[in-house]
């Protein structure tokens, strides 16, 4: 077996990895935004819920989160009479990763929001914006730029975490590598995993490059 064949086989798993990455990242952001919003409420129930969620999820290994999503979500849904046992494993993989990462993103959003200069909000009000416009046009864009380094780190962490979906039987790039190394009866095993690592690395380097470009575009916005 040639190395080029190893590379091609591994790349067959890449689309699944990327789909997992994209969807779990999108959902994690949406849940994270909601959580950050709840966390910033003065309402003790909303605030308490967000704190509890963050505390629980941030102490949970991503691998365990995937298992809990896979075995736990169907049971939770059965309680309200919905049978989701037949859903694709990919959905549970996305759910597990999204739940896990939503907590980290929520914390990033919350701390970014809190570190926007209060004078910015006042300036928006005195030029006649209402509170909603001030939030959307001035506060949110600045909070986003403040949160960006954290978001980048979390996205990279998520790339790496997608490799864990093997535990619920999703065939991504990592489990393709495991299959390949098992088939080969011990030949080329090291090479397979080194190549796999290199592919992940390339994905991460591309993400870092994208964020660098974006930051360069906004280099003069010093928030």
């Amino acid at each position: 077996m040639k190395l080029s064949k190893v590379i091609i086989s591994l790349l067959h798993g890449l689309p699944t990895t990327l789909i997992l990455l994209a969807f779990s990242f999108i959902f994690a952001n949406l849940i994270g935004l909601g959580l950050a919003w709840l966390y910033l409420r003065r309402n003790p129930i909303a605030n308490g819920f967000a704190r509890g969620y963050l505390g629980l999820v941030r102490g949970t290994p991503p691998l365990l989160m995937l298992l809990l999503a896979y075995y736990g979500l169907p049971k939770l849904f059965l309680l309200v009479g919905i049978d989701i046992n037949g859903w694709a494993k990919l959905i549970f993989g996305i759910a597990g990763l999204a739940i896990g990462w939503s907590a980290y993103l929520a914390e990033a959003f919350r701390s970014a929001y809190l570190s926007v200069d209060a004078g910015q909000y006042e300036a928006a009000l005195v030029v006649g914006m209402d509170t909603k416009q001030a939030f959307l046009r001035i506060i949110m864009p600045q909070a986003f730029l403040i949160a960006l380094p954290n978001i980048e780190n979390l996205l990279i962490g998520l790339v790496k975490a997608t490799s864990l979906v093997y535990v619920i039987g999703i065939v991504d790039m990592y489990s393709t590598a495991v299959d390949l190394s098992n088939q080969n009866q011990g030949v080329y095993q090291l090479e397979i995993f080194v190549i796999l690592a290199l592919i992940y690395w390339v994905v991460v380097l591309l993400i870092e490059w994208g964020f660098r470009r974006f930051r360069k575009h906004y280099q003069y916005v010093t928030v």
């Binding site: 004078g119 910015q120 005195v126 030029v127 006649g128 914006m129 209402d130 003069y220 916005v221």
Partner: protein, 247 residues
């Protein structure tokens, strides 16, 4: 009467910051508020445009009576859209260019179209000689340039009154002059202004009236030459002689 403030009171915990302020402003007047730091000058401005809410007091503005302690959301927005403010540390929007800093309020406070707003913003920048910086972000501008854009951002809205909160206090000494020059130009055009300032030369030469603030009260108020040449109150005399070298 453009603006009439009556009996404004505000306290933070046990600290009485405003102890019943009365102040009236005619159209076209420039009122300088002077006095020691921490005497409540800035708080007064922030109560007028509702950045803080007073404990009690009322405001008659453009013939509308507003309870400063219980303003409605509508009243707040209406009042803010007829006033403008210039901040001590500029508070230019960090995520907007110089041009957009000025046009933002026209679009979102006054519902002007983007093109019209940008055009007006360009004119405003041109008037202060900063048109060349229109695509610069605040971080690329000096403090003086930022504050002059801050003033343009306020005046482009064509407000009935502009509140200046120590507009030159954060500036390096050599940059103060350009900002004061812009403010004088504005005053000469008949813009109504309330200016909290430590620049006694401005208070003396540009302001039509001066109010001396001490400990949450207006101790003395009158034509600027009267206050500076014949201060009645002992505290005013002390304050003016302590900073005598300034003017």
């Amino acid at each position: 009467m453009l603006l009439e403030l009556k009996n404004i009171k505000k306290q933070f915990k046990n600290n009485h910051v405003l102890k019943g302020i009365d102040l009236s402003v005619e159209k076209g007047e420039v009122i300088a508020i002077i006095g020691p730091s921490g005497s409540g000058k800035t708080t007064l401005l922030r109560n007028i445009n509702f950045l803080e809410t007073a404990d009690s007091g009322s405001m008659l503005f453009r013939e509308q009576q507003i309870d400063l302690a219980k303003p409605t959301k509508k009243q707040i927005l209406w009042a803010r859209r007829h006033m403008a403010m210039v901040f001590q540390n500029y508070n230019l929007f960090k995520n907007k260019t110089a041009l957009k800093n000025i046009s933002e309020g026209l679009v979102f406070g006054q519902n002007k179209s983007k093109t019209e707003a940008d055009e007006l913003a360009c004119q405003a920048l041109d008037q202060v000689g900063l048109l060349g910086k229109k695509d610069f972000y605040p971080s690329q501008l000096s403090g003086g340039q930022q504050q002059r854009i801050g003033i343009a951002r306020a005046t482009v809205l064509n407000p009935d009154i502009v509140l200046f909160d120590e507009p030159t206090s954060a500036l390096d000494p050599e940059l103060v002059g350009t900002v004061l020059h812009d403010m004088k130009t504005l005053a000469d055009k008949g813009q109504t202004m309330i200016v909290v300032t430590h620049q006694m030369s401005f208070a003396r030469n540009v302001a039509s009236r001066v109010a001396f603030f001490s400990d949450g009260e207006i101790l003395e108020e009158g034509r600027s030459d009267e206050i500076f040449d014949h201060p009645q109150h002992e505290r005013t005399q002390q304050f003016l002689s302590a900073i005598a070298e300034d003017y």
